[in-house]
Subunit: 428 residues, 2 copies
């Protein structure tokens, strides 16, 4: 792992340079994605079949996975898997229940009623990646907040493998309460969910992480439907002082590095001694890691220890990065919470290891990446709700307020606005 | 106004056809916008000056509007304007205060702390259109929810006119508490806010309505920053029964029609008699309307009365449209609220005229258009907040849960995730 003595602006510049290098070929991807979406929009299922053949090497009789197949997968997985996943589900539910909101109404003056209705979206699409590994935990994380919001139709799409959809994914879909499952991945899945085809009815919002093609497709259909966020490669930042345990830190950094060669595993510390010990531990632990090739490539490309001159400077570096996952392995971690301005999910203390949050603790693991924790939030119940305002005025209430409405409308040159109020007080 | 006997799917198809016709030339706009954003990103202020010269016909010494100029505008506007705007401000504040949320924390089991922090964004950009009319009311509607959220830096951009920025806009900015004002409009303003230039520091989120170029620019910078929504032309749907007043309805339809030749003013009714009376009233009221040319063009292109066979069918048509503004001019309006599934803002009864909501009632007037009320919400305090999750576990708490985490991580083939937990219970 590289060691750099730097400050917040130095760290920010380094991450910006990584982003720039990675987005160099984005235009070619954007064009390809745009063409694929247009084709699915025009040709529907025919296009879905053609792309599935091209990208997955499969000819499927239909995309919808039958309920009998889902039930069979649930029956076939180990009972221990069901037990563990249900444990995770209980924690995710009890955390996300706290995000639920109620509608409000007020009566600010005689004859006036105002309010805001909070209601679930009608149909949501959940993208669950297949790829190098299948993640049943992602099914829970995407679906549970939608269920708590009260979404009546949840459609899951996930890339089919040679032997069908992964059985653990299907079992998780049953546990989470998914309504429809489609064996469909990549750009074609996003296009189908956004515009609808003969066999995939359109949804109102698409959530869930995916690769660069999926992320680009989500951005392109934004406006036609809503989306959760645009996700990049996974990141972890560990901020640590000299008392932190280098073995734990190395293991946590590697847990993100094993996701993807583009994953960023970063350490911010005041202690060069710790940074050196973490680097040595990473080398040692890599030897016996099954996904060592991926993790090593990620560490070699991006693994960095930022050496800060003080803890204050260290937290400034963290805020400049605005990490997806932040571990605070500093003595008295909780006291530093006010210093953390931007982070998707925060893990406090030596035993709040990041994978605990990926699976079991309860907060969502679908989180903003690449510095977007400045303005995006982890997936949550609000993502599956919409708000409608309403007002009711009596004639007497409108009579009290009409002059100011008419005055302001006239000042804006909108005479028809003014007249709509005035006409209610004129003789016919 | 055209009269069509139709049902929900007929209404939906008609609106989809309008959208398709309007998006025909979107690709040329997308290309132009993309080039302009790239130029501002590369050349900063130089590009802003060049575009301001090209599109506004102005050579500005600087974009930032001086505080002295804002103070002078505030001093120069009529006291009645200040009074009316402060009346609006009080109502907008008292409504939006109810949207505020608090962070939560729970301790679900011994040794476990979990929570969610809700915090304001650090910097927000507000786009306030200039164009055919200047809208000080939009300044309040965009800025007040951000102030209530606690956003410390609010930067407003608005196209400069030949005699500088409209004084009413500047006075409204002072009343609302805007921190920085820039005389900058169009795509270049969005690009400057997203990427920053020498004189315009970047923000985290851009909100506010604009024309098709501004909307396209917002979509293209989404991901670099957050945005509120992608807004199209304004719409109003009035649902009415035979007892409704055709004069009021005609006036309300015209109030939206006067915004833009692309505005949609729609009536949904069970009464052909009412539809005919409203059409006659529109003709009559148009004669004396200052912005008759715009309103007439909008009515001629899009003004439609949908004749439904029953009130149930009428509400189904409304839901198929998912209108930005919905007026319910049906006897006992409140009782029908549960039938309304999708609408940005709902106006109940004969006296809740839509312009009342544009200016004074309190709910926001920045609302989802073009059917996007299915999944977008009107601008609100949540738009200016982000959420961070946090967890803390003791060693004992992790010991209780470790087996399920390790099991699930191993099932997903993520051995480094499993090891990050296991290593905390191994001898060194």
């Amino acid at each position: 792992m590289k060691q750099i003595q730097t400050n917040a602006s130095g760290a920010k510049q380094l991450l910006a340079d990584w982003e720039t290098a990675e987005t160099a070929d984005i235009e070619a991807i954007e064009r390809q994605v745009s063409e694929m979406i247009a084709t699915v929009r025009a040709d529907g299922d025919t296009a879905l079949h053609a792309y599935t053949e091209q990208f997955d090497g499969l000819t499927l009789p239909r995309f919808r996975v039958a309920q009998t197949e889902i039930d069979a997968a649930y029956a076939a997985v180990e009972p221990a898997f069901i037990t563990a996943l249900e444990h995770a589900q209980r924690n995710i539910v009890s955390y996300h229940e706290q995000q639920k909101r109620t509608s409000f109404m007020d009566t600010p003056a005689s004859g006036i009623i105002r309010g805001q209705l909070i209601r679930p979206l009608e149909a949501v699409g959940v993208y669950v990646p297949g790829g190098t590994a299948a993640y049943p935990s992602s099914v829970l994380m995407n679906v549970i907040p939608a269920k708590i919001a009260g979404v009546p139709r949840i459609a899951m799409v996930t890339p089919p493998g040679k032997t069908g959809v992964n059985r653990y994914i299907l079992a998780a879909a049953k546990i989470a309460g998914v309504d429809e499952v489609y064996a469909l991945g990549g750009v074609q899945a996003i296009a189908a969910l956004a515009y609808g085809t003969e066999s995939v009815p359109a949804v109102d919002k698409i959530v869930g992480p995916g690769n660069m093609y999926v992320a680009t497709a989500k951005k392109q259909v934004y406006g036609q439907v809503s989306i959760d966020m645009i996700a990049g490669p996974s990141e972890i930042v560990v901020i640590a002082d000299e008392q932190a345990n280098p073995r734990y830190i190395a293991a946590d950094l590697l847990s993100q590095a094993e996701h993807d060669v583009r994953s960023r595993a970063l350490l911010v510390t005041t202690s060069e001694t710790l940074a050196t010990a973490v680097t040595a531990e990473i080398e040692r632990q890599l030897i016996t890691l099954p996904r060592a090739a991926i993790a090593k490539a990620a560490i070699d490309s991006y693994g960095t220890a930022f050496i800060a001159s003080s803890l204050t400077e260290a937290f400034a570096i963290v805020n400049a990065i605005a990490p997806e996952h932040l571990e605070v392995q500093v003595e008295g971690a909780f006291e530093y919470l006010p210093l953390i301005k931007h982070a998707g999910s925060i893990f406090l203390g030596a035993y709040a290891s990041e994978p605990l949050g990926d699976y079991l603790a309860g907060p969502n693991h679908v989180l903003p990446t690449s510095g977007t924790a400045r303005f995006f939030s982890g997936l949550n119940v609000d993502d599956f709700c919409k708000k409608s305002a309403y007002i009711s005025y009596t004639k007497e209430a409108l009579a009290r307020d009409k002059d100011d409405v008419i005055y302001l409308a006239t000042k804006e040159g909108l005479d028809a606005h003014a007249r709509a109020i005035a006409i209610r007080f004129e003789e016919e």
